[in-house]
Structures are given as C-alpha cells and as structure tokens.
Symmetry: C2
Subunit: 155 residues, 2 copies
C-alpha cells in the first residue's frame, strides 16, 4: 500500500504535480476500493469520512489529474455517471468489463484477449491503436443460476 502510494507520488512529481494531503486521501480511497467502480460522488463521500474538510470539486480535479496521468481510468457504463478505476500497475491496456444486465454487477477481466483483433484493425483500417474499451453486456453466472432454480421449481 505505502510503496504503491510512493510510486504514484513519483509519477505526480515527474509530471510536475505534488501529492497533497487531499490527493493522497483520494488515492487511498481508490486503493482501498480497487474492486469497485466508484463514481466521483462515491469517492467524495468515502474521502470525507477520513478527511471531512475536502471539497467535491477537489475530488473531481484530482480524479481528472489521475486520469490524465493514466493512473486511473475513467469509465462510463451508460448510467449517467463517470466511474474511476485504478489502473493495475504495469498494465499497458485498459481492462475489460462484464456488466450484468439483470443485477448490475460489474466484473473485470484483466487478460488482454484483443491482441489478434488489434492486429487486424491496425492492418486493415490503418489505425494506430493506443488504447481500447471493451465491455460485454449479458447475464452473470449468479443470475443464470437463479433462472435455473426458478425453472426447477416450476417443474
């Protein structure tokens, strides 16, 4: 945890920014919720628990800064709010998501899986790929199970 923050501190310094207490508090919240997909408001409320004097605008500014530096990724699942994900260290590319259209759960896929597809796109469309966003919409395992149970009860 601490060493992770140290490295982020260095990244900020390299880019000419400082790790202020507010920024550190924000990063800590993101680290403690790596599995979740927090909105700016979510982050704000969580940071506020530890540092009540922080302002919402500061959280927005910090998240924007971290996004610029590619420390976090900004995602949009179409529900009207942007969500922020800490990028896995060493990850060159953005990870993928599985969004369940029934329960709304969001799972992550760290594997790349797109190497071949990207080769084809770069070749056939002469497009130099820098990053990607891939989200699958469907039904998660848990919800599939629920359906199976319901079927069994009917029979």
């Amino acid at each position: 945890m601490e060493d992770r923050i140290d490295r982020i501190k260095k990244q900020l310094h390299t880019a000419g920014y400082k790790l202020t207490p507010q920024r550190e508090a924000t990063v800590r919240v993101l680290l403690e919720h790596e599995e979740d997909h927090l909105s700016a408001e979510d982050v704000y409320l969580l940071v506020k628990e530890k540092s009540p004097e922080i302002g919402l605008a500061t959280v927005y500014r910090t998240l924007e800064l971290l996004t610029e530096l590619k420390i976090v990724d900004k995602i949009n699942f179409g529900d009207g709010v942007s969500r922020y994900d800490l990028r896995k260290e060493g990850a060159a590319h953005f990870h993928h998501h599985l969004v369940c259209i029934e329960c709304g759960s969001v799972a992550e896929i760290q594997e790349d899986l797109l190497e071949e597809v990207e080769e084809i796109v770069e070749r056939d469309w002469k497009f130099k790929i820098k990053d990607h966003r891939l989200t699958f919409h469907g039904i998660c395992y848990r919800c599939q199970q629920k359906h199976a149970e319901e079927q069994n009860q009917k029979e």
Copy 2:
C-alpha cells in the same frame, strides 16, 4: 428508405407504440445521417429544420424509446453527451468504433471480430453475452499522414 421506415413502424406497433409524425421525423433524420454519430441536440436541430414545432423533450423520449427497442444504439465517447446510432438491419451486435484522439473523428467497423473472444469469455467467466461495446482509441490514417509530412518538412 420508405420500406425501412415501414419496418420500423411495424417494430413499434409490435411493441405497442405508434409511429407518430414526430417519431417518423426523428427516424428520418437518423436514416439520413447513418454515418454520423449524432447527439440528441444534433438530432433535435436537424428534425427542427423539417418540423419546427417539435420539442427537445420529444426527441429525447423518442431516442430513448428507439434505444429500448434496439432500433438505435446509445453510445458514449466520453465527451459528455450521448450519441445515437441507427442499428444496421439484421445486425445482431453493436458495431465497433475507432475514435481518433487527435482529430476526434469516429469511424465504424461493421465486422464482428469478437467471435473468438466471446467464446473464451463465455466459457471461462461463465457469462452469457448479450451484447458488447468495443471502442479503440488511437490515431487515424489521416492524422498519421499529417505527422509523416511534418517529419519530411523538417528534414
């Protein structure tokens, strides 16, 4: 064009809705701009040219309805506005996009390209895929050429 509208009319009827003049005008605009990625505001302004009495809320309502019926797809490129794409007839899946991070142009890829990836995801994550969103961020051919020219001039 007309037969396309007829089929959309049928789709609406099947779902218990009517193709009102406002809805038809909106669909026509979408048909006439299939290549573009119009925002609700864009659609509104274009519909207004032909049907000046239409209201913005109606356009929003219509686009939402068409999205529900999977006649159009709602996309979000992260610029703060939702964009609406008429879904290609017979297309089971949402098409992909190439967004140029320099000039902002958006190209479409109709090919699926994800069959294999989806097989892997369904098998390994036990996730039943219903649809997908894939966007590549990078540099389009035109912008790459510009860079090459600049390089040549320096030499």
